[in-house]
């Protein structure tokens, strides 16, 4: 390539002026990299133009004026420093640690939640077990009751309300063979605090009461049917209200219900 001719063509002057196309600019640039003579020429052209253009107006503001724009660069400078100081690794690191932290927090939270879920499930399970257990025993009880009610050998003795307690009632189902009675005490009110119902077996001639025991779980029992052992040759059954623990003999003014077994 004829460097001299290229320089003499005047293309470099246009290059400095910015009058060339983008493609031509790139051409000149690559030739400049290859040929120092071309670069030197460009630098000299540029220097001449800088001097010429700079001499059109008097300037005594020179030094001061950069200070003016320096202040306006300030903001950008801060941003720049921040950028270079904290490169992408720093940002990525921070981002990663935040993500990790959030992840940990989430996991811990999730774990706690699961733990409490397990606790709840366990509680529910034991509750259900209790319910099943209860249902089973209820079923057994019910079945027993049904068999009692169906049994021909069982005596049914209604106990009528007495005196002040005329509006109360009870029923006794007596299975003589099994020596037990089932007392249906649904017609009795709940005993007041400190008192219990006591069940008596009676013979009439002479009148002899025999205690069959107290009903200590009256309030807790839902169907108010109580199974009581009765080995006696009872002729009547009575229920009195007695202090907790029961009494030796029935308190007659607290006799709630009484029923005589009809001779059969």
């Amino acid at each position: 390539m004829d460097i001299k001719a290229y320089i003499e063509s005047g293309i470099l002057e246009l290059y400095v002026a910015g009058a060339l196309s983008e493609k031509e600019n790139q051409e000149v640039y690559s030739l400049m990299q290859q040929y120092p003579e071309i670069e030197k020429e460009v630098i000299e052209i540029e220097a001449a133009i800088v001097r010429l253009t700079g001499s059109t107006i008097e300037s005594d503001l020179g030094i001061e004026s950069f200070e003016k724009i320096k202040n306006q660069l300030g903001h950008n400078k801060v941003i720049t420093i921040t950028k270079s100081k904290y490169n992408w690794i720093t940002y990525t690191g921070w981002a990663a640690s935040i993500v990790l932290g959030l992840g940990l927090l989430y996991t811990t939270n999730k774990n706690n939640q699961l733990q409490s879920d397990i606790q709840i499930s366990k509680t529910q399970q034991s509750l259900l077990e209790t319910q099943i257990e209860n249902s089973k025993s209820n079923l057994k009880e019910a079945n027993t009751l049904i068999s009692v009610l169906r049994d021909e050998n069982i005596l049914k003795i209604p106990l009528a309300g007495q005196g002040n307690f005329a509006n109360t009632f009870a029923k006794v189902y007596w299975d003589k063979k099994a020596q037990r009675i089932f007392l249906d005490a649904e017609g009795l009110p709940e005993p007041p605090q400190g008192k219990v119902y006591q069940v008596w077996s009676l013979t009439l001639n002479p009148l002899t009461p025999t205690s069959l025991g107290t009903i200590d779980n009256f309030n807790q029992d839902s169907n108010k049917i109580f199974e009581i052992t009765n080995p006696n040759n009872s002729e009547a059954f009575g229920i009195t209200l007695e202090p907790v623990g029961g009494s030796e003999t029935p308190t007659m003014n607290q006799l709630y219900t009484l029923g005589v077994i009809s001779a059969s």
């Binding site: 133009i49 001499s55 107006i57 950008n76």
Partner: protein, 176 residues
């Protein structure tokens, strides 16, 4: 320091390098802008804006696309021309005289004999009318070669060689 290094540092937002570039080119830019707006205060203001703009857009400059000087020269010319098109500017300046840059040089002869510019002014005025025209269009006004060719009614080849000779002339006048 090498211009290339300076420009590289400038692109990395090195303020020191930018200050050096500013020292190198700000008078030139102010001159170009002044030639267009013909108001010293406005020219100063635009010149500062141009350098701030250059700083903010440092990343968009690439040396493969042209000289740093040419890049900032373009920004300066565009900013100045934009200013002359603004309404406020048009209202304040009824009619810009269409004289060439040499006329600005002339007015300064009477001011201060010691300044550098006046020394140059004397030389520049030795340039032929043809040279002054072509330099005005290509460097101060930012005409492309084909625009200059149209305006001066000369083929592009002639523009190139004539301009080459004019700049050669200028170089012998201003650079020792």
């Amino acid at each position: 320091m090498q211009l290339e290094t300076l420009v590289k540092q400038f692109k990395q937002k090195d303020e020191k390098a930018f200050e050096t570039l500013y020292d190198m080119y700000h008078e030139s830019m102010r001159g170009v802008i002044f030639n267009i707006v013909r108001d010293a205060d406005i020219a100063e203001e635009i010149m500062q804006d141009v350098f701030i703009k250059a700083w903010n857009n440092a990343s968009s400059y690439s040396s493969e696309k042209g000289r740093f000087f040419t890049w900032i020269l373009n920004i300066a010319r565009n900013a100045a021309i934009d200013k002359t098109r603004s309404k406020a500017f048009k209202n304040s300046k009824q009619n810009l005289d269409s004289n060439f840059f040499v006329d600005i040089l002339e007015t300064k002869d009477s001011l201060d004999e010691t300044t550098n510019s006046i020394g140059i002014a004397k030389f520049v005025k030795q340039l032929s009318k043809k040279c002054i025209e072509i330099i005005e269009l290509l460097y101060f006004k930012g005409y492309t070669q084909s625009e200059a060719s149209e305006s001066l009614e000369m083929p592009i080849g002639t523009i190139k060689t004539r301009n080459r000779n004019c700049i050669k002339n200028l170089r012998s006048l201003v650079l020792e």
